[in-house]
């Protein structure tokens, strides 16, 4: 029997309106699109407002934490972007944001993304009792070195270097293919959720 829950009916109607885009662009699809964006922006605005009150307004007004005025000024300066004349001022707060973010990221990046990765690859060279693990490790080490040789620009890719670079290119293509396959899986899954809502929650077909 079909659902009698109003929320499920609204959900089903929005899903059908959204799916109508597969046929062609239409007003129903655009309605769902704008509704989604509107709700998301409305919700974010409320959360940001709450954050500003608890993290900026309250400490400044009730706890006299005047240092917070500096980030407030920097934040307000971003709005100068709306003015063609004073838009350049917005580069200052942006510079602070990028600078701070980069500094925080770099601190751990060298160990996390370079040193630990190199050490882990070197350790794969250690012979293990399990034959399959050795084959796997050998492949990882070889493909890692070959991929790096692909980015050797100071010498022409000929002979052994050319072969290694070619293996490197195939390795990268396989990696990208894997990533795309998983990304596809990620796009397929929400569709399954929509169909489940329509078929199971709304139409009760099972």
């Amino acid at each position: 029997m079909i659902s009698t829950d109003v929320a499920i009916w609204i959900q089903a109607a929005l899903i059908l309106m959204w799916l109508s885009q597969l046929y062609k662009q239409n007003i129903f699809y655009r309605f769902t699109e704008y509704t989604f964006i509107g709700v998301a922006v409305g919700h974010s605005t409320v959360l940001v407002y709450k954050n500003v009150v608890s993290m900026v307004y309250t400490p400044i007004v009730f706890k006299a934490d005047f240092l917070l005025i500096i980030p407030v000024i920097l934040g307000l300066l971003i709005w100068t972007r709306l003015s063609p004349k004073y838009g350049w001022v917005s580069r200052w707060p942006m510079a602070v944001i990028v600078g701070v973010s980069a500094a925080i990221a770099v601190r751990g990046a060298i160990k996390t993304q370079i040193y630990d990765q190199i050490i882990a690859t070197i350790q794969l060279g250690v012979v293990r009792p399990d034959i399959l693990s050795n084959v796997n490790n050998f492949l990882i080490v070889v493909t890692a070195i070959c991929t790096l040789t692909y980015f050797v620009y100071f010498k022409e890719h000929k002979g052994a270097l050319g072969t290694a670079a070619k293996i490197g290119r195939i390795t990268m293509m396989a990696t990208f293919g894997n990533t795309i396959a998983w990304a596809f899986a990620g796009r397929l899954n929400p569709l399954i959720a929509l169909l489940q809502t329509l078929l199971l929650d709304w139409l009760h077909l099972r």
Binding site: Y23, T112, W182, A183, I192
Partner: protein
């Protein structure tokens, strides 16, 4: 019409086939297993198994676990929900204290949904689990929380000052957490750069399907204990927990969809090469 031109005509027609027919057949193919599940078996991959084993062996009663979310509503129903619900349930079963916090504006609402979907047993809000709400700043917020929890968090998501929440008295910095996990489809390295490398805390990921390729090098180098990704990861985790949920309920449709597109890709390539060969002959 000759046989050769008929062949070329067919390949040209197939190459120019309206994509909507492909999608229509695809939709029909997904609908069948949703309505009539086949009950196909699911293989548990090693990152999910290692994540599960870590929680099972290393996280116990009273251990503090930080769950940092960078989720989005669009990906929520199948990409995050099955995994985060299964993992949260496991952590609740182990008696861990859970601290949910996020830099995604929609996350606090999604965390509320998680709370509503799991069996929390005797756990009490503010004592055993807490939702600390949304904080802008991405990696900077993650870093600030690690250095000094109270520099970032003043109240929980519902507006209660943190000093009124008993479990918040137990944490000051990242060092007070046993395990940290990031629920995300965005930069994976934040967690490692801000928690694993500086503080040596065990880390894990719950991510969207597209993150598998990005997570894998860090898992292979043992920088993370494991990861649970997307609908598939959720289904695997549910299998390990022997507690069927949304993940396992969707795996048949997922397998059918993957198989269909794999076959379509092979078929399209064959058609393309036959067509190219015929065009060259002319």
């Amino acid at each position: 019409m000759t046989e050769k031109s008929e062949k070329q005509d067919l390949t040209t027609r197939l190459e120019r086939l309206d994509a909507r027919y492909v999608y229509l057949f695809f939709a029909a193919l997904l609908i069948i297993p949703i309505v009539v599940p086949f009950g196909l078996p699911i293989l548990v991959t090693s990152p999910t198994r290692d994540f599960y084993d870590y929680v099972e062996k290393n996280v116990g009663k009273g251990d503090r676990v930080l769950i940092w979310g960078t989720m989005t509503t669009g990906w929520w129903p199948t990409e995050y929900r099955p995994s985060i619900v299964a993992v949260s349930q496991h952590l609740f079963n182990r008696g861990a204290k859970l601290y949910y916090i996020s830099d995604g504006a929609e996350d606090p609402l999604l965390v509320d949904t998680v709370f509503g979907m799991i069996d929390k047993g005797p756990a009490k809000y503010g004592v055993d689990y807490v939702s600390l709400g949304y904080y802008a700043g991405g990696e900077v917020a993650l870093s600030a929380f690690a250095k000094d929890v109270y520099s970032l968090v003043k109240t929980d998501y519902y507006g209660t000052p943190v000093d009124q929440l008993p479990m918040m008295k137990e944490v000051k910095t990242a060092k007070d957490f046993k395990f940290v996990m990031h629920v995300t489809g965005s930069p994976a390295e934040w967690l490692l750069r801000q928690y694993k490398t500086p503080y040596g805390i065990d880390c894990g990921w719950v991510g969207s399907s597209g993150m598998v390729g990005i997570y894998m090098p860090y898992y292979a180098s043992r920088q993370v204990v494991g990861f649970v990704c997307g609908l598939r990861g959720g289904a695997e985790y549910e299998t390990l927990m022997k507690r069927p949920g949304i993940g396992l309920a969707s795996t048949d449709a997922m397998s059918a969809g993957h198989l269909y597109f794999a076959l379509i890709m092979i078929f399209a390539n064959i058609v393309y090469y036959i067509g190219r060969k015929e065009r060259k002959k002319q």
